[in-house]
Symmetry: C2
Subunit: 459 residues, 2 copies
């Protein structure tokens, strides 16, 4: 029996399951600053745009076809589509689409994409059960706080050993948010967290496949069902997170319990959420931003002799693909990022499509980018000089790219991103209405009107 002991077991962990359950069940509605509440609306809108934008991706088609094998009841909407499915399946599907473009939000301290699991679960449940927009936003803030705090405690060990931290902590966030929506008491909320704690989802090996976006979707579904089970009296360990053979010690050797409890109810992790302006890996963002600023200064592709790019060595190591052959390869090409920034002023999902990547003018412009390594430049910065055919040199240095915590996307930029994703799916007019509904969701008597706008047709 001596074998059955964990070498690293911590038998003195604080009762974080109970602490989190108390927070989830009892924290006052809108018990935070206006700034936090506004960030919650930004998080919600950004998540919704990503989900609508990928509504007809082949991953969504495949997942919906599988769900339809279960003949689901039409309880909740698949965003950006006309189909309705049961609320647990809607959580799954919207969680998948919201992460399909890898364009959703990022909690930079843990690289968790927090909205996918939490917002997908709460919107599906709120639509079916008739909750108000205030209840939705409350659940979103609280659910994201739970998943990111657990992430803070386990990061980086947990991520390094192979877990896709978005899915593994997301079940807890979704369970917390749905427990809040269902108005579970402290004890039942602890059970919901406990049931969810047995279902961490996601391995990093799946990156590059449809199973990556399955992770937030699966987490949303698992969390929602965990809350339903708890509401009906299903039991779990009240120490499911922190016990020696509970979730956290089983899946992480690093567990900084204070990260869960410090300033709980005072500091909200959603405050530190960030939004990607560009649909690619974050190290390319400063270069795209710099080239977009050149464009703003009047530089056009036909004027270009060459573009001199100076970046940290890591940027070329990760994204040094000079001649990308398709959209996926272009996501690892800082050269394509520069060409897109100068040509379009941004680089959303469309600018990483095969069609754009193989355009002759894009191929030609990429070849005019001359990249050199300069490790005195931070990984999060880029130094770009456009050398024009008339001999002029135009220089831009980006210290913090747009979308970073130091230089967040403005509300107007988030709206533009949303439009780029949603216009082709819902029409521009409908998209405008939906944006307005997002900004006002915290005051909406119910969320159904907003959801109706996120479904095509029926003008």
């Amino acid at each position: 029996m001596a074998r059955n002991t964990q070498v690293t077991a911590d038998h003195n962990a604080p009762p974080v399951t109970q602490t989190l359950a108390t927070f989830v069940a009892t924290h006052p509605s809108k018990g935070w600053s206006d700034a936090v509440d506004h960030e919650a609306h930004r998080t919600f809108m950004n998540w919704l745009g990503c989900a609508v934008g990928a509504a007809h991706h082949e991953a969504a088609d495949a997942a919906l076809a599988a769900v339809n094998m279960l003949q689901p009841a039409p309880q909740a909407s698949v965003l950006g589509r006309r189909e309705k499915v049961d609320m647990a399946s809607a959580a799954l599907l919207n969680g998948i689409t919201s992460h399909t473009f890898d364009f959703d939000d990022t909690h930079l301290k843990t690289i968790i994409h927090p909205a996918g699991p939490v917002a997908s679960a709460v919107l599906a449940m709120a639509e079916h059960l008739g909750h108000s927009g205030r209840e939705l936003i409350d659940a979103l803030v609280i659910g994201i706080d739970v998943s990111c705090r657990v992430g803070n405690a386990m990061y980086p060990d947990h991520y390094d050993r192979g877990w896709h931290i978005t899915g593994s902590t997301g079940t807890l966030g979704a369970a917390a948010a749905c427990a809040r929506l269902l108005k579970l008491d402290v004890q039942q909320t602890a059970m919901a967290l406990g049931i969810a704690a047995s279902q961490p989802i996601g391995m990093r090996e799946q990156f590059g496949t449809m199973t990556k976006p399955f992770h937030p979707g699966g987490a949303a579904r698992a969390g929602l069902v965990s809350a339903l089970l708890a509401s009906k009296g299903f039991t779990a360990s009240p120490k499911a997170l922190e016990a020696p053979r509970g979730m956290m010690q089983t899946i992480s050797t690093k567990n900084t319990w204070d990260e869960i409890t410090d300033e709980l109810g005072q500091r909200f992790e959603i405050s530190f959420n960030s939004y990607k302006p560009f649909a690619c890996g974050i190290v390319i963002h400063p270069s795209i931003d710099a080239c977009a600023q050149l464009r703003k200064q009047g530089v056009t592709p036909d004027q270009i002799e060459r573009i001199e790019l100076k970046v940290h060595s890591l940027v070329l190591e990760l994204t040094g693909k000079k001649e990308p052959q398709d959209g996926l390869q272009a996501k690892f090409s800082v050269y394509h990022g520069c060409a897109a920034g100068l040509t379009f002023g941004y680089a959303a999902e469309d600018e990483f499509s095969d069609a754009v990547v193989t355009r002759p003018d894009m191929v030609a412009l990429r070849r005019k980018v001359v990249a050199t390594v300069d490790d005195s430049i931070d990984e999060a910065s880029a130094d770009v000089t456009a050398v024009l055919l008339d001999g002029r040199r135009v220089h831009v240095f980006v210290e913090h790219a747009i979308g970073s915590l130091q230089n967040p996307m403005t509300d107007a930029q988030l709206e533009a991103k949303f439009q780029g994703l949603s216009d082709p799916v819902l029409s521009a007019g409908r998209t405008r209405e939906l944006i307005n509904a997002c900004w006002g969701v915290g005051d909406a008597a119910h969320v159904k009107a907003l959801v109706a706008l996120a479904v095509p047709g029926h003008p």
Copy 2:
């Protein structure tokens, strides 16, 4: 970036995902001995009896109430009840009930309970999609081979660190079995295993709560849905099990790849499945068996002066509760085990009920058991002497208890166990029909007739 490497990563793992997918998709129907096929029928019947027996447990009621919130389509039966739900939810619910009494099968090498995840998934799918009994048994043998082989590779490290290995390997077994039922090709089967690989379920901290039986149920559900997703073109990593950041290296530091590949298709892990005759921890079984043998020799409780019990120290360490106050405590009382063995000749779920445990004659008989430690006796053995009021001494030594691999339950004993579980739920007549249907399921044109017998009423 140096941080983002796994210290123990094995970059030379063999392609076990692909190897298993090929086996699952291409192994011939009934491509094994009659003995293996018979063991599959025994495994199926034992699982079915456990599920029927716990059909009305409060865990089943709570889980069904939660599932009903999703308004499931009536595709497949909840065993032992009249309700029907969608096939994924049926997999969940039957997986929960089959493990609720902790009375189901055990693969002793890994202590996996293999049928729960696999049989629950395949029967639900086979009922809805109209598969034959042969397809069901094929899928059961193959699915259990996948989960137990992966378990062999990861055990004991994976279990020791906190995973409930039944649920964590069960998703793979269920996915394999459902992929087989759906006749997926090798590539799609690899995707099904890959999707499942991101969803290991179950922490040991949950033991003693309803979430323990949730683990095989959740694994059954997750595996079934993984196969559905793969059948519709959903993708995953084709190296999802073995890659450095794939499932196995993420959740276990021990991965003996040979355990997966050696004699694959020749040796079948279901051959090593065992069935509990008694509804309690395995260390009490030899003592119960010994007292049941005393009863068979004509010894009755009213003749008893005292019972001298000699066992290994571990037995008293784990199950030394002399005066259990209720059924749950009695499961940790070798004294109650002896009293039940002598009184009833066995100790199923009813003999561990509060009503039986508190009976005055049981209390009195327990107090007549005098236990002493003798570490020369194996943990799996028991030495019992009944000292009678007339002065006679009747001695029984059990080397291997009934239910062990060395002394397996006979078919007749499995039937008696099944009757004890099923008679109160389905009636004795119906139970007899169901037993016959179980023995013949491998030849049944479809499984629906058998399932109909496992639902109460409608004579």
